[in-house]
């Protein structure tokens, strides 16, 4: 019996690779450079910082790097939860796509 799957590979093997349209550029993302550099070994602080930085226009919360660095992990988790609630981010249910 012939195998019906044999002829089907990936139908769209290549996407993109060209110059990005200038209309898409958002210079606000430049702050991310300092975000990762500021918290290289603290994923909770980095997660909070990235949410705050990436969504600065939507969040009214003001903060300083030292605020995050001085928080204990439980407080950071609460902050992240508050940010996710505010940004309507639900938890991911699986790690498999």
């Amino acid at each position: 019996m012939p195998n019906q799957h044999m002829q089907h590979g990936d139908p769209t093997p290549v996407i993109g690779g060209g110059v990005m349209a200038a209309e898409l550029l958002d210079d606000a993302g430049d702050d991310l450079v300092s975000a990762v550099a500021a918290f290289p070994n603290d994923p909770l602080a980095r997660r909070a910082y990235e949410l705050l930085t990436l969504n600065a226009g939507q969040l009214s919360l003001k903060f300083r790097n030292s605020d995050l660095a001085n928080m204990d992990d439980a407080t950071k988790r609460l902050l992240i939860q508050d940010l996710c609630d505010s940004l309507e981010i639900k938890p991911l249910l699986t790690d498999t796509l």
Partner: protein, 198 residues
């Protein structure tokens, strides 16, 4: 919030599912397992490898340029045999076209290994890399607070992008249309795939 680390790929020969690992793509892997292995002339193909639109891409150089810039994310997907089945480079924050004032993730490029390509490989190994990386980009956008919005510049195959939920925008670059998936469409997709609750 940890991003997904595994991707379901379909084994073309059997239709079975193999769970592959999504990993950071660094310059060593790019050099040794993409640039040095993907374009092997021993591969049994239906057309010349040089005809592929990405055959000139040097992933090592691309990754070297972006590796230390946190605005960019590079990932690859690895199967159990150790082979790299596809690669992704995206920009974490750009402007949304369809929803002005909102933000999106931009897929700079995706490539699946030549031996997986429908119209190139005589006996393709895996399918699902392109769709898997599109979904990964949507999850990243959602987890950043961008609602799942993703845009890209399609090389070809509009049907594929439409099927993934993307729609064409009015923006073009070098003749290529920018496509984008809206937040509501993206989130419906995440719910349908069991990635978030309704």
């Amino acid at each position: 919030m940890d991003l997904p680390t595994r991707m379901r790929l379909e084994v073309c020969a059997s239709g079975e599912i193999e769970i592959a690992q999504i990993e950071h793509l660094n310059r060593e892997v790019a050099k040794n397992q993409i640039d040095n292995e993907w374009w092997d002339e021993q591969l049994d193909t239906l057309s010349p490898l040089d005809d592929e639109p990405d055959s000139h891409w040097k992933w090592r150089e691309i990754i070297s340029y972006y590796q230390n810039d946190p605005k960019w994310v590079a990932r690859c997907v690895r199967t159990g045999d150790g082979a790299i089945q596809g690669a992704l480079l995206l920009r974490k924050m750009v402007k949304s076209v369809l929803e002005p004032g909102k933000k999106a993730v931009f897929i700079d490029r995706v490539a699946t290994a030549p031996w997986n390509r429908d119209k190139l490989a005589k006996t393709p190994h895996f399918r699902g890399v392109g769709a898997g990386f599109a979904l990964y980009s949507i999850v990243l956008s959602y987890s950043q607070g961008f609602g799942g919005r993703v845009n890209l510049q399609a090389v070809a195959n509009e049907d594929f992008h439409a099927k993934q939920g993307f729609e064409p925008t009015a923006i073009q670059q070098d003749g290529e249309i920018v496509w984008e998936i809206r937040a509501d469409v993206a989130q419906r997709k995440l719910i349908e795939r069991g990635i978030i609750d309704a």
